[in-house]
Structures are given as structure tokens and as C-alpha cells.
């Protein structure tokens, strides 16, 4: 299992609410190998967002273990988790989440600031990633000057800039029209072919179809885990 990017063992998360404890996620065992493209599906309240937060090291589990690139990260502190997010994981959000005051280049370079890179290296790598997602020449633009699809490309460039092994995408096409969605999914497929593992949360079947493997959650439990049946390239 050493090739696994992600391995969870009995992963669970319980929230304490005023009405008592609420188990959002219970006993999830899942292993995702290096270079896999996995879609996570499920209705809202199924626990898929909780699971993504745990995978993204944004939260710590109440029970179970989580091995990220072979290392158990279930009990790490906040700053160690931040370092992991910085180096091992690239995030792509539904709402793009770019910083509006910064140029695209600075947005893409931001993870490198926290990684402690020098200015010229940050600049060079940010430009390279912008070019990789097809936005060369837009370095100085602001996020509000480009389209939603372009913004999501910038977000993907930012996720890629520190060369992570894993990209976590939370409904990346949720705010985009179908044509742009297809473009973004094409970009993800390309990146996956280059060897980057991708975990994608979606509730749209045709988006999930791009992934090679589909995992379904319901009521905090992992209910199905199967390869994508159709052979249609997306």
C-alpha cells in the first residue's frame, strides 16, 4: 500500500452540537493510489464534505487514522497540517477563491510565499503554471477582469504551483456553464495523465464520469466504491 496517496482506516468525525453529538462520518476505509482520478458523490448531508475536509487536512478526525503519502496525519497540530496543505495538496474550490486585490500571478504564487520561496523563483513558477493552464499573458490581470472559467484555471494553476501529488477539487464546475465545465474537466484529465492524483467532489453524474473511479457516501457512510462503468471519454 506504499503507493497509496491516501489511505483512511475507520475514519470518523463527530460534531458536538447543542442537540447532542452528531456523527457526520463513520468508519470510512478508503485507499486511493498514486495517479488515480476519483470522484466522490453523494447528496448533501451525506458526509462527503466532511470527508473532503479531512482529506484536505483542514480538519482532524474524531476517530480512525489517515495516511497521506504514507504518513499518519490524524493527530498532527495546526501548523504541521498547514505545511502539509502547502506542500502535498492543491485545492480547487467551487467559488474559485482567488484573492480579488492581487494580480493573477500573485494569486498563483501565494502558496510559494508560505513555502518560503524567493521572489524570483515564485515569479518564475507562477508564470509557468499560468502558461500550463493556458493563461500566459494574463499575469498582471485581476480576478474580476477575467471570466469564471479563466478564474477556475487560475485556481488550478495555484493548486499546481507547489507541485503537489494530490489535487482536491470541491465541486469545481458548480459555478460554470456546461461548455466551460467540459474545458475544466479536460484540464483535470490532462493533469491526471501527467501523474497527479485527483479527488473530485461532485453531484453531477457526467462530471463524475470523467473520473476512473466513483465513491458514494450516504448518511456518513461509504456506500459504494466502483470503477466508472461507461467507457466514454469525457
Amino acid at each position: 500500500m506504499s503507493a497509496a496517496v491516501i489511505r483512511t482506516l475507520g475514519l470518523g468525525k463527530t460534531y458536538q452540537t447543542a442537540a447532542g453529538s452528531f456523527p457526520a462520518l463513520q468508519g470510512v476505509d478508503l485507499s486511493i493510489g498514486n495517479g488515480e482520478f476519483v470522484a466522490i458523490m453523494g447528496p448533501s448531508g451525506s458526509g462527503k464534505s466532511t470527508f473532503m475536509n479531512l482529506l484536505g487536512c483542514l480538519d482532524t478526525p474524531s476517530s480512525g487514522d489517515y495516511f497521506l503519502v504514507g504518513r499518519n496525519v490524524a493527530h498532527l497540530g495546526r501548523d504541521e497540517l498547514a505545511a502539509l496543505r502547502n506542500r502535498c495538496i492543491g485545492f480547487v474550490f467551487q467559488g474559485f477563491n482567488l484573492l480579488p486585490r492581487m494580480s493573477l500571478e500573485d494569486n498563483v504564487a501565494l502558496p510559494l510565499v508560505y513555502a518560503g520561496c524567493r521572489r524570483d523563483e515564485r515569479r518564475q513558477r507562477a508564470r509557468r503554471e499560468l502558461a500550463r493552464v493556458g493563461l500566459a499573458g494574463y499575469e498582471g490581470a485581476r480576478p474580476n477582469q477575467i471570466s469564471g472559467g479563466q478564474q477556475q484555471r487560475v485556481a488550478i494553476a495555484r493548486a499546481l504551483v507547489n507541485a503537489p501529488q494530490l489535487i482536491l477539487a470541491d465541486e469545481p464546475t458548480g459555478n460554470l456553464d456546461s461548455h466551460t465545465s467540459a474545458e475544466i474537466m479536460g484540464l483535470f484529465t490532462d493533469l491526471n495523465r501527467q501523474g497527479i492524483s485527483i479527488v473530485l467532489v461532485t453531484h453531477e453524474a457526467d462530471i463524475a464520469a470523467c473520473a476512473a473511479r466513483q465513491v458514494r457516501f450516504r448518511d456518513g457512510l461509504l456506500v459504494s466504491d466502483e470503477p466508472t462503468s461507461r467507457e466514454t471519454p469525457c
Binding site: 496543505r85 477563491n97 484573492l99 486585490r101 510565499v113
Partner: protein, 406 residues
Amino acid sequence: MLKAMLGEAWQAMGANRLRSGLTMLGMVIGVGSVVLMLAIGQGAQYSVAQTISTMGSNLYIVISGSTSAGGLRSGSGGGPTLTIADAEAIAELDGVANVAPVQQGTQQLVHGPNNWSATVVGTTPPYLEARAWTLQSGYPFGDSDVRAATRVALIGQTAADNLFPNEDPLGQTVRIRQNPFVIIGVLARKGQNLDGRDQDDTLIIPLTTAQRKVFGNPFPGSVRMIMVQATSAEAMPAVEASMVALLRQRHRLREGQDNDFFLRNLAAAADSAAETTRVMSLLLGAIASVSLLVGGIGIMNIMLVSVTERTREIGIRMAIGARQRDILAQFLFEALMISVAGCLIGLFVGVGGALLTNALTDMVIVISGTSVLVSFAVAAGVGVFFGYYPARRAAALDPIEALRHQ
């Protein structure tokens, strides 16, 4: 990393110019008023020190006084208890630098068509030295003038200006009670004394001449007061003790009998004046510091608003790998930048205000490097102190909650 963060802090400040500017204004007013108040306070201290130094240092004044006759006690200067012989005896004591018996009073001075009322001081040559008084022109009278009771005079600047508006007083004649005095020296300007009296409105003449021709003296050999200068501040207590003992012995005062003279320590008066201005400048500084504090609270307030507004941004930064200390540093930098920028402008405003005060009034102002440095350091401290709590709040945000924040 540091440079990137400073750049971001600068951007954040520029993103909301009006707000940053108003927040900064709080610091500008705070630092400006501290600098201005310190300048005025130190100026007051300086001018008091100047006044004290014109008085002459380490001075005692012994005043003849308090005789009791049948239960009736006169006040100071009430009886002719001090004599010129007392003065000569005091001069022999250890630690005494200068002794000058003084007889003074206000007299009408007349020169041609001009007349002017001034303080006439009858004394001996050591008086000038004791009061550290120099001559602007001419020369002082000597012991022989005192012995011979010559009619010579040294004139102060104010009296000279009024009696001789358009001519050099040197060599001219001034009449006091019909007695002509030849002016042989013009005194250098001294300014006001601690009581606010003009020290230059004066005419100094030999003691003997003053007693015989000007004031008249029913008790030959007596004198109203004696000015005594100790060699140093350290010698003053010893001089005081031996002077009191000497005078009591010379005046044949029995044990338990009150002194028939008064001793005034001018150094003590000077100290208390200096202390008063010191307290005043401390008070000014303290009041100004309150506005600095208010400025600091303004920074804290605006930083808290900023943290709330930028919760989502904080979440994004955390998601892509910002550690808690990165977020803390970012907001601290912003607070620090506002306070330091405000402080710099405040320094200019304060110094400008002080210079303006100096130009528009005759108030003395002193801008010391220390006060500027101190207010700068305090302002930076205020930025860190009041920026810390909001920055801490930002850093403690939960990344998931922060990301979800709209």
C-alpha cells in the same frame, strides 16, 4: 517572505484608503500632540533653567529682621540687625565664594528731560560675580569707590533704554534725588527673574554712596541684606550651618532665642521652580499620551473589522498553507504599518506645530531627539500591542469556518 508580507500589508492598506487614512489620523494626532507637548514642556523647563542661571548659582540671601520689642515682632527687614561687619565675617567662612551686602530700593532716575523709576542697588564689587553678571561696556566700580562713596553707577539695559533712548549711556550722568551719578558701565541683559520681575530695570551703585546719598541710613554700619555665594552646591549646607552659628554668636543670641535674621536659599527656590515645570511637562506628556492611546484603540478597532471582513481571505490563505504565525504576522504588519506611518506623519505635524508655536508666541520650545525617538518607539509599541489581539483572532480562525464565510 518578509518583503512579500510588507508588500501585502501595503496593498491591504491601499485597498481601503479612507479607512486606513482615518485610522492613521488617530495616530497622527496622538504622536503629534505628544511631540508638541513634550516640546512645550521641555521648552518651559529650558527657560526656567535659563532664568535660574541668570540668578547666579548657590546663592543665599541673609535678610536683617525680626526684632521683638515688648511682644511686637517685626517681619523680615524690620530691624537693622545685620551689619557690614557681619558680611565681612561671613566672607571669612569656609566654602564662601562671594559676599555682598545689599541695600536696595526703588528710586526715580532723571536724565535731562527723561525720568524713570528703577530699582537702585547699593552693593560692593563681589555682587556682580555672585550674580554672574557681566558688563556689556564700561567697567565696574571697585573697593575704593565703596570706601570713598563715589557717585558712579552701572546701568541695566531696561533703565538705559528708557533714560537714554538715543544715546550711549556710558559717561552720561543720572540724577537720583538731585545727586549726579556718572555711568561707568552698562550691564549685560539678564531678562526676567523667577518672580517675573525685569532684572535689567536697575542701577547698581556703591553701597556707601547708596546709604549716604540715596536711601539714608539712621543706623550707620547696618545693612538690609547680604548676598552670600557658596563655592559649590555641595558646600551649601555647611555654609548655611556655619553662617547661622556665626551670626547668632555675633548677635549674642542666647539658646532658645529666635534668629534676628532670615536666610533665604535661592537654590531651593530655583529647585522648586524647576520641579514645578518638570511636573507640568510630565502632565502635558501624560495628557498627550491619552490621545496616543485612543489612536491605538482606533487601530485595534479597525483591525478587528478588517479581520471580520477578510475572514474568507484568511480561510483561503490557511487552505493553501499559511500557518497561524503567518496570519498573525500579516495582520500585525498591517497594524504596525498604519501606526508607524501615522507616527511618521505625526512627528512632522508635532514638530511643525512646535515650530509654529515658537513663531507665533514667544514660548520657548525644545525638540529633543530623545523625545522624538521615545514617541516613535511608543507608537510602534502601540501598533503591536493593539494589533496583536485582532491578529491573534485572525490566526485562531478555523480554516473550514473561514472558507465557508461569505
